[in-house]
Symmetry: C2
């Protein structure tokens, strides 16, 4: 009688042989070497064809979901969702799907938004996003989702900094740093009642409905807890170069850019201890992790292969150089998820990269407003504020000639604050931030503005999603702009026909971090000395603390494009006398700035007070907590005048600064102003807005508001400014 | 023994009962009335709940494909492609799908492009588009597809005007006119070997892969030849108002916005005779068709019910007011095809309209360049020219500092000629078209330009797909622009970082239809009299026929935004003497126009000849067949100078016109110019372009080209113009 071990041994041998054979068929060709996000080190010397190692389940890698059911005949088309082989059912309509993402910093926040757009485009289910963020990402994403108001999307935030102690003991060479390791602690971080979650890297793009991915949970055996796609590189096979010693992994290992987590099972299995033990043990012989969480996940899986559920490769097509991904997608008739895990990201070398890049660019430039759409017949809590907004919009009369104005005033614009990396200025008691707003056609002003204003700036940009990318490239291409970390750019996404000038000003104002703000316009260049001079004046005058005042910066204009900016008040006055400069709007609308009293300013040695007069619209410096601009004034006209009225009504005194000045440069009139000039309706609507504005003033200031009535009743001259 | 008829009679009665019951369940609620594209007449008085009429197959309407297989339990989710009930397999990977569309005129051409974008976005199969077009649509779509270069898309054109006689005998009230009827003659028009085709209206948007629709051919019985979705309105039930008498139809009838045609079977069945007989008979009692082809299709089907294969409603969700469509999509978890068949189109009242509109806007504004992507592993003939282009691009060196220039020069931009309705000017022997190019930031110039130039214009606009829609709204909102039918707008879609100024000029030039062209720039306003004066001068001087000459229009500039345009040469000279005007670029680059000899022009009574001198770049009038602009000059610099060199090299004489003038208005410097000023690399690349340009000149003109060498070797001053 044969020893019982024998048959098993034979079976094992046969299996090994089969694996080797299959491995040979699949990977006989020449293979490059490359790994997940290894800084610049991809394409390092010493690449060899992969060694043929047995791996978990050799037959699923190049197959679709069907292969998971072990159908030996399952062909590439099995990964097509319309293909009705053993393809799993999608989750019941309207089931809530959970997604977790770790995100830190300004750049990752932009990446996450593109990922989310691709997810929302294809999704048909309600989603709950669990975002583990640092303070920067949280501020950005909280504002974004709050203003985005996407139906059937819930967002929860988790403080990444609180999690740091749990992973900070692990030495890590990967550029993602500590944040890269935080996926390991999700089972303990996410709510205890949460049983399943899809975990995604930020460099992922969806090309299909995430519900199909969620449906793969159904394929987990009773013990499997982690769904992963195999690595599409040879990194974990080792020997990529001399002394290349990766962390232990099953064969080619798994990529953790896309993970299906059964949190409930991991908690039961004591995941917290499990991964820590493994990591500690490996770190006795290995100096650090190279690929952050991925090294540890793979080491744990090597030790507990029963935990892993291999997923079809199309759910994490890894676009690295010389990647094996092509073996996957070239046979699939369909593509599900693209993972930009090459250090070169979009510039990765891949003969299909254009196709993949187009998927990415589609969502990068996609108008996120279009994703504010409900789901078919899935009852869902409308986003906060959305309901009232809908009612207000519904009450508007489409036949009202001012309908466009009403609609624009009610529009909630998506806001992406600190779109680019930004260093808040060190807090100083008298510091002042230049506040302004612009759209694409004023980008050219930014470099000059940076040269004239060395201090912090808070700028709101009114852009489409696509323009935001052009803007990004513009800043990167400009050494002057790229050098400035103290300029905060806040993107407000375009929606509606009228320019929401005051909403933009309020966004920039709200994001200013210094105690004082200089409320300017983008087509003005301040005196070179203004920043220093303002801070000194604020201190001397005890602005804010001792006095409730608005410091007036006298405004001038040149009608020539090329003129040499006066280095001092003396030169300014010379140009003024020579007729090369004028006081602002001298020809069209002197009233706007007359109260500044330019004659007195010429001689003034000290700040002097002036009285409010109808139509006064000076450029002023005020404490950050000043009244906001009235958002009802959209498009063109009365937007700044109304704000000055508000300051006067709140009894700010107006103090003109003797050495301060700012100069308006000529520019093509905006579309809004030309439209205004040509349309009596437009003027009529503006008058209506002014009447309503005055009613509000009376409501808030009572009799004191009577003072403003005549000004508000004046008919509007197209010639005048804003 | 019972008569044989009895059981059948009983069965029929039972069926009728079932139908009534079902009809009641489905249509018990209140129903509006509305029909397919009935001008403004939707919502006419006299709407009644639908009568409960038996219809072909009562159970499929609210079901997905599954219901086609008669699965009685098939629920709404059966229409979900990922749902693996009896859902049909998609067509084999890479099968060629055929689509036919009838399209006439400028506006329908824009619609078709949006439809095609939605189709291309989701498609995974090669497509062959069969476009039945009038001359206008053909010119637009041929240029578009030729420059779009989408892989795996073939386009064939069929002349709609040739088909008119086949349908012109049918009186038709529908606004689509004769073209609306042409779907009837497709079986005889499309190639005899073509067996199957999907026929689409132009107001269709895809929200899924058209291959899934194609797959429904598999459900046809051996005799069925026409796949249609039932009408989602009560039009064919009649009684919508007093004397409302629709054409005959089975119950609610079918909507012909989406048709699956088995051309082979229709030909066999003698379709040509079949529909003509039916139409002739009905027209004995009915005055005309109200819904064009749809009335006749329905009448034929009523007579030959065996021909029709009912399709699941999600394949033609008809968004009319009070439509029954909601019964369809609200139960479907998925949406396949949206049909904007309300007269109000996007403004249709529907509580989900925002969701549907967002699908439409997605593709309306979608960057069509992103659809230039190949298919997974489907071998396909690359579009003509694409292969050479790829090779040329592949040969570029990404490290070359001028890489951006090289790439931009090679870029083939998608071109949509005559984007808006346009009436070609009546052909006149001395007529002249103003040719210019612009981007979004110069739209404000158009109204003024129209006031100054009453003649034909050919303008190239460099826009994104989204900007093209803003432009459309801008023109519609401007009475001045909307009134002009002789201004042709050609949209060239943005791609790449550098402004392809000369490619744009060449597009506008190529589309000019008069024998002469005035080559201007968008920021110039011509003298009010210039159009008449030029035509007179062209005749007197026998330009083109007797003399090979370029007529020079002297250029001036104002540095002020608001100035009163001089009505005559006398006033112009007065302003010049007063310093309110200057000769063009007087301050920065007088050399550009010095050869025009302004001193002589002051006194001149007759045209006078001038010699070419280095850097000369006048604005000229030439025959339409003049040399093209050199497309290698992209971005900023040398683009016009090079063209003048070319004219001189081809021995055009330069004749200055004594009464002609044009004035440059100030504008914000373009991004390109600011970029140029700040970048030595940019200047270096421009020099390289000039060198290559001169090499080409030498090649073409031999020793004669030596004359231009010094000019081309001059280093470039940032101050100078274009």
């Amino acid at each position: 009688m044969l020893p019982r071990g024998r048959p098993r041994a034979l079976g094992a041998a046969a299996l090994l042989l089969l694996l080797l054979l299959l491995g040979f068929l699949l990977f006989g060709g020449d293979l490059g070497c490359e790994r997940r996000e290894l800084g610049g080190r991809a394409g390092a010397p010493g690449c060899f064809p992969s060694q043929l190692m047995p791996r978990v389940s050799p037959d699923w890698r190049l197959r679709g979901a069907a292969a998971l059911d072990g159908d030996p005949l399952a062909g590439p088309r099995d990964s097509n969702p319309s293909d009705c082989g053993p393809q799993p059912l999608p989750p019941p309509k309207c089931e809530l799907l959970h997604v977790a993402i770790v995100c830190a910093g300004h750049n990752s926040s932009r990446d996450v938004i593109t990922l989310v757009k691709s997810m929302l485009f294809y999704r048909k289910n309600p989603l709950h996003l669990h975002l583990v963020t640092d303070a920067v990402a949280r501020n950005i994403l909280e504002t974004l989702f709050h203003t985005w108001m996407v139906p059937a999307v819930r967002v929860s935030f988790y403080d990444a900094d609180e999690l740091k102690p749990q992973v900070s003991w692990i030495p890590n060479k990967h550029y993602s740093g500590l944040y890269g390791l935080m996926k390991l602690v999700l089972p303990g971080t996410l709510p205890a009642e949460l049983a399943r979650v899809i975990v995604l890297d930020t460099d992922i793009t969806f090309a299909s409905d995430i519900a199909e991915l969620w449906a793969l949970f159904a394929h987990f055996s009773d013990t499997q807890a982690i769904g992963l796609v195999e690595n599409q590189s040879d990194w974990y096979l080792g020997n990529l170069w001399k002394n290349h010693r990766p962390w232990p992994a099953l064969g080619r290992g798994f990529n953790t850019g896309v993970i299906l987590l059964r949190l409930d099972r991991l908690r039961q299995a004591g995941w917290e201890q499990m991964w820590r033990l493994t990591a500690r043990r490996e770190l006795l012989t290995l100096p650090a992790t190279s690929l952050a969480d991925q090294d540890i996940f793979n080491a744990v899986i090597k030790e507990h292969p029963g935990l892993v559920r291999p997923l079809p490769c199309v759910w994490n097509v890894q676009l690295s150089d010389h990647t094996l991904a092509e073996r996957c997608y070239s046979e699939a008739s369909d593509l599900k998820v693209i993972h930009w895990n090459s250090p070169k990201k979009l510039r990765v070398k891949n003969k299909h990269v254009k196709l993949f890049r187009n998927f990415y660019l589609t969502f990068l430039e996609y108008d996120g407003n279009l994703l504010r759409r409900g789901l078919f017949g899935c009852p869902s809590q409308p986003p906060s504020g959305a309901e009232q907004l809908q009612q207000a919009l519904a009450q508007l009369d489409e036949e009202d000639p001012c309908f466009e104005f009403r609609q624009q005033q009610l529009t909630v614009h998506r806001v992406h604050v600190t779109f680019l990396p930004h260093e808040p200025p060190p807090s100083q008691p008298h510091d002042v931030t230049l506040v302004a707003q612009l759209s694409m056609d004023r980008l050219q002003m930014l470099e000059a503005l940076c040269r004239h204003w060395p201090g912090p700036m808070s700028l709101a940009l009114y852009l489409t999603d696509a323009e935001a990318q052009q803007f990004l490239r513009f800043v990167e291409a400009s050494p002057v702009l790229a050098a400035r970390q103290d300029v905060a750019y806040h993107v407000v996404y375009r929606e509606g026909p009228l320019y929401p000038v005051n909403q933009l000003r309020n966004v920039a104002l709200a994001q200013a971090l210094t105690p004082y703000v200089f409320l300017s316009d983008i087509d003005f260049l301040p005196a070179y000395s203004l920043y220093d001079y303002l801070r000194a004046s604020i201190e001397q005058l005890g602005l804010g603390s001792r006095r409730k005042a608005a410091l007036v910066v006298p405004a001038f204009e040149t009608l020539h494009y090329r003129f040499s900016f006066p280095p001092s008040k003396v030169e300014l006055l010379a140009l003024l006398d020579a007729g090369a400069l004028y006081t602002f709007r001298y020809h069209e609308w002197p009233r706007g700035h007359a109260p500044t009293d330019y004659a007195r300013w010429r001689e003034a040695q000290a700040p002097y007070g002036v009285q409010w007069v109808a139509n006064y619209e000076p450029y002023v410096v005020v404490p950050r907590d000043c009244p906001r601009y009235d958002p009802r004034f959209v498009g063109f006209g009365w937007n700044k005048v109304a704000h000055i009225v508000e300051l006067d009504a709140q009894e700010y005194e107006f103090l003109v600064l003797p050495e301060a000045f700012t100069i308006h440069l000529p520019h093509t009139p905006s579309l809004d102003i030309s439209r205004f000039r040509s349309s009596p309706t437009y003027r009529g609507c503006l008058q209506a807005l002014k009447d309503e504005f005055h009613q509000d003033l009376s409501r808030r200031y009572g009799a004191a508001a009577l003072k403003y009535l005549p000004a508000l009743q004046q008919p509007w001259s197209p010639a005048r400014g804003s």
